[in-house]
Amino acid sequence: MDATVKHLRIPPEMSVYAEKHEIFDLFQTLVRNLIIDKPADPIQYLIGMLKRESIEVPRIMLLGPPASGKRTIAKKLCECIGAIQVTASDILKDDTDLTRAAQEYTKKNKEIPRELWIKLILERLSKVDCVRRGWVLEAIPKTREEALCLQEAGIAPEHVVILQAPDAVLIERSLGKRIDPVTGDVYHVTFMWPESAEVAQRLERPQGLNSEDVISRQLQAYHSEAHALHRTYQSCLKIIDADQPHVDVFAQVLTYVMSRHRSAAPHTPRIILLGPPGSGKSLQARLIAKKYDIVSICCGELLKAVAADESSMGELIKPFLESGRRVPDSMVLQILTERLSRLDCVTRGWVLHGFPQDLEQAEALQESKFSPSRVFFLEMTDDVAVERLTLRAIDPVTGERYHSLYKPAPSPEVHARLRYNPCDSEAEVQRRLKEYCIHASALQAFYPQAVRVNADQDAHTVFECLESRLVNRLPKVLPDRA
C-alpha cells in the first residue's frame, strides 16, 4: 500500500500531552483575547499574555436584589479565589477625569449616562490587578442595556451568580442592615451581629434604606430588570437561593464558580473504575462503553483471553491462572499496555476495571504512558456487596442471571436448575472484600482527583452520576495557601 494514502496516525503521546497541558483551551483563550483586543502587534501581545502567571482568571458577576447578601458573599469569594472585588462605589472612588465627570452628574442629582458608566467599568477592569487576578463585579450590570454594552466592549463573564430570596425576607434584612463605615462590611441586627464589640459600636444604618416603601420600590425596580438580565446571561447563569445561612450560600457559590464550562477540546476518555467486588464495575463499564463507543477492558478477562490464545505470553501466565495465584505485576502490565496501545483504544478511549488493585500497580500504570483522565470509586458497604454476590445464580439452560432477592427465578423448575458460582461463596467474597479494603485507602490517596460515587443505588442512577462527571471538565483546584 502506498504510504501517502494511508491515514496519518497521530501519535498517542501528542493527545495525552495536549490534554495534560490543556493546549486546546490555552490557544482558545489566546485567540479569543486577540480577537477582542485586536492589538496592532499580536506577537508582542501574545508574549505579554503568556508571561502572566495565569491566563484564565476568574471573571464573575454577582447579582441580586438589595440585601440579598451580595457584599458579604463577594468579599468572601474574593478572599478565597484571590480575585478583585469591584463595586459601583469603588469605581467612583478613583480620581480620574472620567470619575470627575461622573461626579458632576451625581452632584446635580442626575444619573450617570450609560456610555460614561461603561467607560468607567472598562477602565477599572483593565487595571493591572484585575487583569492579573481576575474580578468579581458586584451588582454590575443593573440592566440588560448595560450588560449588552459591556458585552460589546469585550467584557464577558465566565460565571454569573444571581442570589434570590422572597421579598418579605429582603425587606426584613434591609431594615436591620448595618454597615461598618471603616471596612464596608455588612451586618444585621438580628441575623449577623459582629463578633467584636468595637465593630458593633461604630456600625451605621445605611443611607436611604429606612422605610419599608423605599425598599419595596427598590425591589420593584430590580424585579423589572431581573428577567432581562437572566436572559442575557442564560448560558453561564446560576441562581442560588439566598434565604439560607450565608455559609451555605457561599459554599454553593464557590462550587459553581470553581466549576468549568464544557470544553470543546477533543479528548479520548481514559477511565478507571475502582470499587469492591459486587459494586457493579463491569456493568457500569459496559454501559459507558456502549453509550460513548469506547473500549471496555476487564483486566481479569483480558488475562484469561491472553492465556487462551496460544501465544508465548499466554503460556507464561497460564500456570498462574490455573493454580489461582496472582499473575506477577510486570506481566499484567505488559499485557495491559499492549492492549491499551492498540488502535481502537487509542482512537476511541477506554474504560478499565479490575486494575490497578494496589498502589504498586497504580504507580506502574502512571509511569507507563497510559495515565487515566478520570478515576471513579464505586462505594458501598460490605453487607450490600455480600448480599449482591452470594445470592446471584445463573440458569445453565438459558444463560439468564437471577438473584434470589432482586430477581428471583420465575418458576420452581428454573429455580431447581440454578447454578451458583463457587467464587461467590460467602467466605470467598469476604476474602476479596478484605483484600480490597486493605488497598482502598492507598489508592484513594493516589488519585486525589478521583470521584466517589455511591454504588448502592439503582444501576442507572449510578451511571448518571458517572456520566455527569465524565462529560464535564474537572473543577478548578484552589491553590494551597499554606
Binding site: M14, F27, L30, I43, Q44
Partner: protein, 133 residues
C-alpha cells in the same frame, strides 16, 4: 451573512496571519512537547519577533537535515536529480504554497537536489513568517 464586526475580525485574523501563526505554534508544541509549554511558546514568539525586526530566520519545524532526508526518499538511487512531479508533490507535502512553478531543469524533467532544497528552504521560511509584513 456576516456582520461588520465579524468581517472586521476576519480581516484582522487574515492581515496578521493569526491562523498560520497558531498552526505554526501548535505544530512546534506537539513536536517538541516541552514540559513548560508557556515558556516554550514565549521563546518561540520572541524568536519570531526577532526575525521580523531583523530578517533572521523564523522558527520552523524543518531544517536542512530534514530536507536532506526528503531528498533521500525522493531519490533513493542518488541520481542527483528528481522529477518535476516529485518536486511539486514534495513541496506541497511540506505545506508550502505558491512555490516556484518553473524551477531550473523543468524542460529536461530533471531538477537537481540543490534547486529543490533552495526552493523548499525559501518556501518554508516564507510560510514560517507568520506575521504582518
Amino acid at each position: 451573512m456576516s456582520t461588520p464586526r465579524e468581517e472586521e475580525t476576519a480581516e484582522y485574523l487574515r492581515n496578521h496571519k493569526i491562523v498560520e501563526l497558531m498552526n505554526n505554534l501548535t505544530s512546534m508544541l506537539f513536536f517538541y512537547r516541552p514540559e513548560r509549554p508557556k515558556e516554550f511558546l514565549i521563546s518561540q514568539l520572541e524568536q519570531m519577533k526577532a526575525s521580523r525586526d531583523r530578517a533572521v530566520d523564523s522558527p520552523c519545524l524543518f531544517d536542512n537535515s530534514n530536507l536532506d532526508a526528503v531528498v533521500g526518499i525522493l531519490d533513493p538511487a542518488n541520481q542527483g536529480h528528481i522529477t518535476y512531479a516529485q518536486y511539486k508533490e514534495a513541496l506541497k507535502t511540506l505545506g508550502i504554497k505558491n512555490f516556484n512553478e518553473f524551477p531550473e531543469g523543468l524542460e529536461s524533467d530533471r531538477i537537481s537536489h540543490e534547486t529543490f532544497k533552495r526552493e523548499a528552504k525559501e518556501g518554508l521560511v516564507r510560510s514560517a513568517a507568520t506575521f504582518q509584513t
